[in-house]
Symmetry: C2
Subunit: 448 residues, 2 copies
């Protein structure tokens, strides 16, 4: 399996067109004005968490690295831009040679974030950095929204495994990224074969109602499934009558039956009934999987029910009410030339209508209390206070255009579990509330 | 531009892996049981519209046709399935030769739909049809959700053009599909270059706040932009002080300035102020584009404001509160053999826990009142009543595996405008309500 992004399609030979047109027209105007080379710092951050959420989860960083690496303007793309008169000849020439040669720092994938956290920082010439805005935001806004929902669901599920099964509820490639983000957020497996192929996430699945309906009798369907997939399979028991189906299932598979799945009805009630019936039939080790319209609240409400695994679809891939984050990519500082020694000038939108931000190239650190629990997200410009130097959050991801921080997907998954565990306990309350730790701004000695 | 799906990625050489694992395990079990060849009819429908919505919009049909055409199991995919032991050897052999050879009928893209509408009907052997479930639902659920939001926004906008600019708020390839669905729903243009490349949708864009902040003075930025992009460009006027920026903009570009864009603040108030100021400065033909957090309600509230165009991002690509539809793909009838003459038996899930559906192979027609306005969505099995024969909704899309209904994207866009215009006037009310026409079920003489 190579590292090319699954999102790299045959018809768009690179990620360069996952870009809003204005990035290219700004480039053209800056090239002509002689300002395109000014050393610039862009930062990705969010002004607020989705309403009521206690923390955010950074996801998609690995995909961003793939996208940056594959961001180039091939002949097909250049021909398109020329034909449509989107940019002029000098700009096309410049784009033909484009490779990002700057630096990217960011919160490592799986880390939690808060309002104002500089989740990613992109530095280089204005020209090379501005082009990356759209694709970086697409990836981080989508993947982080899914991971945040996944994290809430996985804390609600405790030790019980979660199955991601939302492919049918979202765009077919968003589904693959969603399965990846869900894994980072704590899901165990996915139904999506492309996510298994691309990212090595364990895949699962046995049968749907159609399989029972295909056969003349439910018993025939169960027998066909057990004959082919073995007694350890999961039989779907709610096509006709659940109690009748459970009886038939154990008759066909014996007490070695792996699991039954319930996909409709009052799951709390039905799970108790099915558990009692399975136990009476001697199938005491047969597990119960539930899969009907679950979200983190439904999962929490089933904590005391005899449920062994949860399958989650719609609510996962739509971010459980928040299908996107509000991350933005803003120019926060720039020099007056390309000279690496030229001083950076902090910049920020100032109009009174909102959407203002804090200028300057930022660091971030998480301050801990005496018990080692997170107590504040500290963000500043200039020098990092001595007591926070070891608690800094940004790590180097791309150095002079070279990706330096690839990691297997198990790493952000473990990192997320650890970061969440290090937050105050109220972080995992599902009720609406404020961010679980405050964001504090510190002005260092040499601002910028 | 060829017809290969933009979603066709280098690393997944076909659409076959955009599939839940259980489709393949059902196939394996059915092959072994000798039931895989049973002639089957699957239908895509939705049990309800998103809460409060008056109608749904079918979108993604053209992408489904691409996905079906590209659904094949290449060596890479087969190797993956074998390595992971997802299916057995006979199933792998069967998959190696897979090409869909059945028939697909459906509502033409852009058509409106209601609860129960058989939006798509897939017929063939159980084996060949069941495999297509996940990717068909992914595409229709995503694209139709976006098109429904787009349709509400375009009816709220009236004759004023809508710009799709949500790429940064959703997965980078979902964004391309979203731009396509928005165009079907009535949007005029997109910011997404990949959507222009892939689907020929007109692209637009000029500059962001970063461009102003890059320069030492707002005036320098405006001059740079006008020098490069011409006086017809759109200048963004809310980086610092709006009134000052408008004055500078007209000084720099003259009254020929194409447009100004306002991206923050109280749009209603600011639009009036800016219009007055532009008129006083003699820039009476300079247009005003607004782009801040718009949805259909905000667009409607600006109907009386001097606004010339709307740019919509987040709320469009997240379906304005409903980021997915609840379309399902259900086996509704099957024969007891592969024989094309074998009678179809209607089937349906029957358990008491909800999610039941109506069995049988269905037709659908839209009944009109005396004035030619839609008054009911009529769905039935068996023979179509004589008075509805000419009002049938399903058209042939794939015949014996061959796509027979390709069309340029202008066709579903025009079709949607016509279909919406043919609904009762209350269809375009933005307030919550019931579906604008009822769904009626008719049992024909020879059911199934």
């Amino acid at each position: 399996m190579n590292t090319a992004d699954l999102g790299l399609p045959v018809d768009v030979p690179s990620t360069a067109l996952f870009t809003d047109q204005y990035e290219l027209t700004m480039l053209q105007a800056a090239l002509k004005a002689g300002t395109a080379g000014r050393r610039s710092v862009f930062e990705v951050f969010t002004r607020r968490l989705p309403e009521g959420r206690r923390y955010g989860v950074v996801a998609g960083t690995g995909r961003v690295l793939d996208a940056v690496e594959n961001f180039r303007f091939d002949t097909d793309v250049l021909d398109f831009l020329a034909e449509r008169n989107i940019v002029d000849e000098p700009t096309l020439k410049w784009l033909a040679g484009y490779r990002f040669s700057g630096d990217i720092w960011g919160y490592p994938e799986g880390e939690v974030y808060f309002p104002g956290s500089p989740i990613m920082r992109v530095e280089g010439s204005f020209a090379e950095c501005v082009l990356l805005e759209t694709v970086i935001l697409s990836i981080l806004n989508h993947d982080s929204a899914i991971a945040a929902a996944a994290s809430r669901m996985s804390s609600a599920a405790g030790d019980r495994p979660l199955i991601e099964m939302g492919a049918r509820r979202t765009h077919e490639l968003a589904a693959v990224a969603a399965a990846r983000a869900a894994y980072v957020g704590g899901f165990a497996t996915t139904s999506d074969l492309a996510a298994g192929f691309r990212y090595g996430i364990p895949t699962v699945g046995t049968s749907a109602h159609a399989f029972t309906l295909l056969h003349d009798h439910e018993r025939d369907a169960f027998r066909a499934q057990v004959d082919s997939l073995g007694r350890g399979t999961t039989l779907l028991v709610d096509t006709y009558d659940v109690a009748e189906a459970v009886r038939t299932a154990v008759q066909v598979a014996g007490p070695e039956l792996g699991a039954v799945r319930i996909d409709s009805g009052d799951l709390l009630l039905v799970a108790h009934q099915v558990r009692r019936q399975l136990d009476e039939l001697g199938a005491t080790r047969t597990r119960i999987t539930v899969t009907s319209d679950l979200d983190e609240y439904a999962i929490a409400s089933l904590a005391a029910a005899p449920v062994d695994a949860y399958g989650v679809g719609t609510q996962l891939v739509t971010g459980s009410g928040h299908p996107t984050c509000s991350m933005v990519y803003k120019l926060v500082a720039r020099a007056e030339s390309a000279d690496p020694q030229a001083p950076l000038v902090p910049v920020a939108k100032k109009s009174t209508g909102g959407k203002t931000s804090v200028g300057g190239r930022k660091w971030a650190a998480r301050r801990l209390d005496a018990d080692g629990v997170a107590e504040a997200e500290v963000i500043g410009t200039g020098e990092v206070p001595a007591d926070l130097v070891d608690r800094q959050l940004l790590v180097e991801l791309v150095k002079s255009g070279e990706v330096v921080a690839r990691e297997p997907l198990a790493a952000p998954r473990a990192r997320h579990a650890a970061a969440r565990a290090n937050l105050p306990l109220s972080a995992t309350q599902l009720s609406r509330g404020e961010p679980v730790i405050p964001t504090e701004y510190v002005q260092g000695r040499s601002g910028s």
